[in-house]
């Protein structure tokens, strides 16, 4: 396999890992506003992702770094072109990350409420905007012959991309619901399942519309195939949730996210960022890539260290496998 293809696949894997993992913690973040009925429940929700969210976010940092190293042209065009959405995402991620750490550090209602708002907004905004950004990459944006983005912020807010944003927002929300159902005990677990199924059914329309739109646009058989797999796993996740098979339901939503992402990356290949102005100006895996030498070094690093990272991250999920509930929240917060 060409190394450029290998790195295209690796970056796709990093994005899929990021979307699946941070997808559920974005979902849980939104649930802090939508599901929790009191402060204790909010803390149960946040504690389900407490040990995990930071590690999940590193997937984004590594995806960004890997793009920079393997496809500098792609990194440069993408990050300078999508300036304002990325700025919004950055601000959301900053506020959200600080909010997780700071909300419990003072025992005041107003303090906690403000940070809870930060968690909800900081989770919803990236959940929406990552969908918008990914859809724009696949659909193509105005790029000139020097690989510069020449569109405006509003070019990014086209119907196809906005639809994608709504879909990622809804899917992450459901993904978060099923994660909470898997990780909690008591009343909150059942309410999470119910809410997840309800929103999941409601999201079916936009999701199918987006998949069909992508299929028609891209046309390739593989795109349709992965779109179909996404629909099947989505339906399966709702059925499994209703049957109280929480682990399987969560795996199914993970697969849904993965299949949608694979569908988009398959549609994209061998481009990495097509130009909507002239297909000769497309950024491709070959014209956007680093030198062979750099790719060889990076490949060795990735081949050696990715399994190690996966091993200890899995171990940390295993360590925190116990379900938690309202009874696990200490009554005297400040004594801890």
């Amino acid at each position: 396999m060409e190394l450029t293809t290998f790195w295209f696949i690796l970056i796709a894997v990093l994005w899929i890992g990021y979307l699946v993992l941070e997808g559920f913690d974005f979902g849980v973040g939104m649930l802090v506003g939508a599901l929790a009925q009191d402060d204790t429940e909010r803390r149960v929700l946040i504690n389900t992702i407490g040990p995990l969210w930071d590690g999940n976010e590193v997937w984004l940092l590594v995806a960004g770094g890997a793009t920079f190293a393997a496809f500098p042209e792609w990194y440069a065009t993408l990050f300078s072109g999508f300036y304002l959405p990325l700025l919004l995402i950055l601000i959301a991620l900053i506020v959200r990350g600080v909010a997780f750490e700071f909300r419990g550090k003072r025992n005041e209602r107003a303090w906690r409420r403000n940070w809870d708002i930060a968690i909800v907004v900081g989770s919803a905004v990236p959940a929406l905007l990552w969908g918008v950004a990914l859809a724009n990459i696949v659909r193509g944006v105005p790029i000139d012959k020097n690989h510069e983005y020449v569109g405006t912020f509003f070019d990014l807010l086209n119907p196809y991309a906005l639809l994608a944003g709504v879909v990622t927002l809804a899917v992450f929300f459901v993904h978060g619901c099923f994660f909470v159902a898997l990780k909690t005990v008591g009343d909150i677990r059942h309410r999470a399942t119910k809410l997840g199924v309800k929103v999941g059914v409601g999201a079916a329309g936009p999701a199918v519309a987006f998949i069909v739109w992508t299929g028609i646009d891209q046309g390739a058989f593989a795109v349709w195939l992965f779109g179909l797999l996404a629909v099947i796993s989505c339906v399966a996740s709702l059925a499994l949730a209703l049957a109280h098979r929480e682990m399987l339901a969560f795996i199914a939503t993970s697969l849904t996210i993965a299949f949608v992402a694979i569908m988009l990356f398959v549609g994209l290949f061998p481009d990495v960022m097509p130009s909507s102005l002239n297909s000769a100006w497309n950024l491709t895996t070959t014209n956007a890539s680093s030198t062979h030498y750099t790719l060889v070094i990076m490949s060795w690093v990735a081949v050696i260290f990715t399994p190690i990272v996966l091993m200890y991250q899995s171990w940390s999920y295993w360590v925190f496998r116990k379900r938690i509930g309202v009874q696990h929240i200490p009554t005297e917060v400040l004594a801890r």
Partner: protein
């Protein structure tokens, strides 16, 4: 003002701000790991309480470091896309490796440390904080590898057809002599910050609440003060070595640091120079003969090149233009760095003396010094980085690419200005929140440890940690 100026301001503000949290994180992770190790081996409760107390302060700080760190990676592409295109083949690799090797390690094992108190055996739990601490060292090595390439590009070839620098020898990038000089200097400087942080807070507790856990805080204070002083000595030695390397690879930066206009043999070290505002002329100066020769070359008779002759030389090599950085900024940031670092060591030594043989120190000045102590090496670090980065100007990659050529051509002034304002406002608010939180936890003192910990079979026992 154009997008270039704003992008430079943004880089400066976000990087200096981010770098308030980094040195505390790197050094304190090791000190907290040390405290927990002491508890593991002696089972003395004071070590556990100190671990939890400084652990909490560490985490408040770490949260800010993580949150502001992500901006650093993104802004290369957002504001400096032409730079990214030019060096991506080389610069991206250490950045990606930093993420894969270090960030995953830090975030995962810190998560395990925070939430794993009652889920892991004491031995494994202790290992998690050590692994996270080692992660911070790996992180600093790789990010400095990237930065050192900008200071002293090695292991590359210029590809004229593609208009970019291409990697030819990754080993050279990872053993860049600037990197090997910078890493020890930076790590020692981080330990100075952490020592002053732990020491200053402990000293404040001893003086403010002499009847509350004074023995435990005395232990913490000595740990901090000794760390500060030992690391301070390391910083001086490594800084001297780094200065010699810098004199070799970027003589202009060091000439600017000295305000040395004419090539001198031997060269004096300037203690104070007052020049005209634009920095082009000296009005008054106080100097130590021959010292600069020694600092720069290792010999008291060594020749040190001046700004004027370097300027002429660079014009010959690179064409017409101004190749000197902002002289007053270089001159003063260099001196402020050294002065603050020296003051921190002196203050640490003074306080150590005041607590000798079980004494409980008193006095307003000592208390004031304890409060200021953590800030001294912290700001020394900031000024050191401002010196390093500003002193490289007008180059973004020394000798290869001017800073003005690195900026994103497609972004508008409005976009960059929006992000500058957004980051400044949000960073300002978060600074206030962080400081308030730190002060609140410092004032609260050591946490109590519950006497009886619930057994493993009690599935409804409260978590050891909950947000």
């Amino acid at each position: 003002m154009d997008a270039l100026d704003i992008a430079r301001w943004q880089f400066g503000i976000t990087t200096v701000y981010h770098f308030f949290f980094v040195p505390i994180t790197i050094g304190t992770s090791f000190l907290v790991a040390g405290m927990q190790t002491a508890w593991f081996r002696t089972h003395k409760e004071k070590y556990l309480r100190l671990t939890k107390f400084f652990g909490k302060l560490f985490l408040i700080n770490f949260a800010m470091g993580v949150a502001t760190g992500i901006v650093q990676e993104f802004q290369f592409g957002m504001n400096w896309s032409d730079y990214s295109r030019f060096v991506g083949d080389i610069f991206g690799a250490p950045l990606a490796i930093e993420g894969l090797l270090a960030f995953f390690l830090e975030s995962t094992f810190l998560g395990l440390w925070i939430f794993g108190w009652d889920r892991l055996t004491p031995r494994v739990h202790l290992a998690t904080i050590w692994i996270a601490a080692v992660g911070t060292l790996l992180s600093s090595y790789f990010i400095l590898a990237a930065n050192s390439f900008m200071q002293n590009p090695v292991g590359f070839e210029f590809n004229a057809e593609k208009g970019r620098a291409e990697l030819t020898d990754f080993g050279a990038v990872l053993t860049n002599k600037v990197l090997l000089a910078t890493v020890p200097h930076q790590i020692f400087a981080c330990f100075m910050v952490a020592g002053a942080f732990v020491g200053g807070i402990a000293m404040w507790q001893i003086m403010k609440h002499p009847d509350r856990d004074a023995e435990a805080f005395r232990t913490a204070f000595r740990l901090g003060a000794v760390t500060l002083i030992v690391a301070g000595l390391g910083t001086i030695v490594s800084g001297d070595y780094q200065g010699k390397i810098m004199t070799e690879v970027q003589p202009m930066k060091m000439a600017a640091a000295e305000g040395l206009y004419e090539t001198s043999e031997p060269a004096p070290f300037s203690i104070l120079t007052i020049g005209t505002l634009d920095g082009s002329k000296e009005v008054y100066k106080l100097e130590v003969p021959r010292l600069l020769s020694y600092l720069g070359t290792g010999s008291f008779d060594g020749k040190v090149e001046g700004i004027n002759s370097l300027q002429a030389k660079y014009e010959e090599t690179y064409g017409a233009g101004d190749y000197s950085p902002n002289i007053p900024i270089s001159y003063w940031t260099f001196r402020i760095m050294i002065t603050l670092g020296g003051l921190a060591m002196a203050a640490g030594a003074w306080m150590l003396w005041a607590t000798r043989r079980g004494r409980v120190p008193s006095g307003r000045w000592l208390l004031r010094t304890a409060i200021v102590l953590p800030l001294l090496p912290l700001f020394a670090n900031s000024f050191g980085w401002i010196f390093t980065e500003m002193g490289r100007q007008p180059w973004i990659v020394f000798g290869l690419m001017p800073t003005s050529a690195g900026v994103s051509p497609g972004t508008t002034l409005a976009e960059v200005l929006t992000s500058l304002i957004a980051f400044t406002v949000i960073y300002g608010v978060l600074a206030i929140v962080e400081v308030k939180l730190l002060l609140m936890y410092i004032q609260r003192g050591l946490p109590e440890i519950p006497t009886e910990s619930p057994g493993d079979d009690d599935i409804d026992a409260p978590l050891a940690f909950a947000y």
